[in-house]
Amino acid sequence: MSAQEIVFVVIGGIGGIAAIRLVTSRNVVHAALYLVVTLAMVGGTYLLVAAEFLAWAQVLIYVGAIIVLVLFSLMLTKAPIGREALDNQQRGIAALVGAGVLVGLVFLIQDRFNGQRVHLQPVRTAQLGVSIFRDFVLPFEVVSVLLLAALIGAVVIARKDEGPGEPPERRVPLIGRREPVLPPREGARR
């Protein structure tokens, strides 16, 4: 085994165990923290196969942004603890389907790619940029429009509704709001 393979076995082992703990953990916050470990290990895998830009994008977007979003929504919703609160009644069937998918995929991989080796070549970020902006300009623009739409959609969906029945004093704009005038403190100098 090469040094890369030893490192990958460690990284992949940690990531796989964390992924399995993520879907079986009884505490939602622990599950989110296991998700952090899994995503970081996926980022380490990217580094190992010399996809450097993707590794840092993974760390920034997933570990930095998405985890914060998930943790905040766990805080804003009720975070119950316990197997019955987190899992439904189909656990056996779900385990069966998951194991079946795993066995099928491993069988296919061993059948088709057994003994194939990846010869690692460093990828410069400039090459990636050239590839995006020369060959995939249209998907890139579509993705940016999608991001904008998702941004606006998330704001619109998660906003509190202001119905017509709302009392009008709650709609005073923040900018023009008049502060309550406090009596001047004794001894305060102008």
Binding site: G12, T45, A51, L54, Y62, T77, A85, D135
Partner: protein, 108 residues
């Protein structure tokens, strides 16, 4: 670092089996969890498995297309989790629960 990578190899099935483990864990999570946020986290797990596969084959074939599409998948996953969590919070505000098996308004 570049010189050290000159003859470095790694077995392709290792990467693919790692991705398969992540994907099956995600499948189990989506099927077995009833908390909405946990279901979304399992979906993220599956998308990451796909990304690992894309990057592995991109390195295997010495083409950059896989990495470009992995970037697109990361972007779409970010959009998806943003909208998904917004919907979860909205449902929690209206129904006081985010258990996906109790939200059956649109079920037959």
């Amino acid at each position: 670092m570049i010189a050290a990578l000159a003859d470095a190899t790694i077995r392709l099935p290792f990467l693919l089996i790692f991705a398969a483990v992540l994907f099956s864990a995600g499948v189990y999570g989506v099927l077995a969890r009833r908390n909405g946020v946990l279901v979304l986290m399992s979906i993220e797990l599956m998308l990451n498995a796909v990304n690992v596969n894309l990057v592995a084959f991109s390195a295997y074939l010495h083409q950059l297309t896989g990495q470009v599409f992995a970037l697109f998948v990361i972007t779409v996953a970010a959009a998806e989790i943003g909208i998904g969590l917004a919907i979860v919070i909205l449902i929690y505000r209206n129904r006081e629960t985010i258990n996906v098996d109790e939200i059956n308004l649109l079920k037959w």
